[in-house]
């Protein structure tokens, strides 16, 4: 075995270990789509009144539902592409880790809407999303950890800046945040394709 083969074997072992404990069906495409949708959503308020709860709920509800659908479809396609089952131990662990922050976000969304303070929701969503993504970071690609940290910082900043800045901050956090994650995942997917898994060990 020469040094190049040894380095390649180490790379394959690393991929195999990640493959076993990481949720790998998160797709760059879904993340890029979610980022684009969030930017479009924020841009819609150039024409719409963010203070109107119906417009606010309609735009962000549409962005959320479309992103979720995109993630779901992307996951199914990715599973088919790499020949893996979608409902795995990792999927269950990721969903369990996400559940508390999703529940908190749902309860807080209802609370702020009922009080008529919906413009404070973007900061709250960012904090919940940051907490959720950090909770999944043990089973997810490393880019997720950075997204979680960025969301917590941006969430706190959004609340500090006040309701007036919340729409712009939504575009920055969920839009640019997901686009950055998407590009990071894209390079990860390319790296994975370059490595022939265990079949090429030694």
């Amino acid at each position: 075995m020469d040094p190049r083969q040894a380095a390649h074997t180490l790379e394959v072992i690393r991929t195999l270990m990640e493959r076993t404990c990481q949720y790998r069906l998160l797709t760059a495409g879904a993340s890029l789509a979610a980022g684009t949708l969030a930017i479009l959503g924020a841009s819609a308020f150039v024409f719409l009144d963010a203070g109107d709860p119906i417009s606010f709920a309609a735009v962000w509800g549409f962005v959320f539902a479309s992103s979720l659908t995109g993630s779901f479809v992307g996951t199914l396609l990715r599973g088919r592409e790499v020949g893996e089952r979608v409902w795995t131990r990792q999927t269950r662990m990721v969903l369990l880790a996400l559940a508390p922050s999703l529940a908190a976000a749902a309860a807080l969304t209802l609370f702020f809407f009922v009080r008529g303070d919906h413009l404070w929701l973007p900061g709250v969503w960012m904090l919940c999303y940051g907490q959720g993504t950090l909770a999944t970071s043990a089973y997810a690609p490393s880019g997720i950890r950075w997204l979680g940290v960025a969301m917590l910082v941006l969430g706190a900043l959004t609340l500090a800046l006040g309701a007036a800045a919340s729409i712009v901050m939504m575009g920055i956090a969920f839009g640019l945040g997901h686009l950055t994650l998407g590009f990071a995942l894209l390079s990860e997917e390319r790296r994975e394709r370059a490595v022939r898994l265990y079949r090429s060990v030694a």
Binding site: D2, P3, A6, A7, L10, M17, T88
Partner: protein, 107 residues
């Protein structure tokens, strides 16, 4: 080249087989995996995986537990302390080979 050969000769022959190395790598990352999870993660056939697991168990690198979950039998595998040590040592050897190569390129 002698240094490479010496390092290569020290590689654990049981682990230096791609199927078994893949199994041990996967088990090193997860505390416990079921036979099905391992098979799906590595894309092996049932027969192939069984044979490799048996060899690893004989050497004391993995433990295999068979139990019933509800009414369904479930086989789960776990790396033993000896298996983890062998895997770590194998990685150290590979790392040493890579380092030797880098040293040679610099010289």
């Amino acid at each position: 080249m002698n240094a490479f050969k010496r390092l290569f000769d020290e590689l654990d022959p049981l682990l230096h087989e791609r199927g078994r190395l893949a199994i041990v790598s996967a088990l090193a990352a997860a505390a416990r995996l079921t036979f099905t999870e391992l098979r799906d993660a590595l894309g092996m056939t049932d027969g192939n995986l069984s044979v490799h697991l048996q060899k690893l168990e004989e050497k004391g690198y993995v433990t295999i537990d068979k139990q019933f979950v509800g009414r369904r039998p479930q086989t789960s595998c776990q790396l033993t302390r000896a298996g983890r040590q062998a895997f770590t040592s194998y990685l150290d050897h590979l790392e040493a080979i890579v380092q030797q190569g880098r040293g040679r390129n610099r010289a």
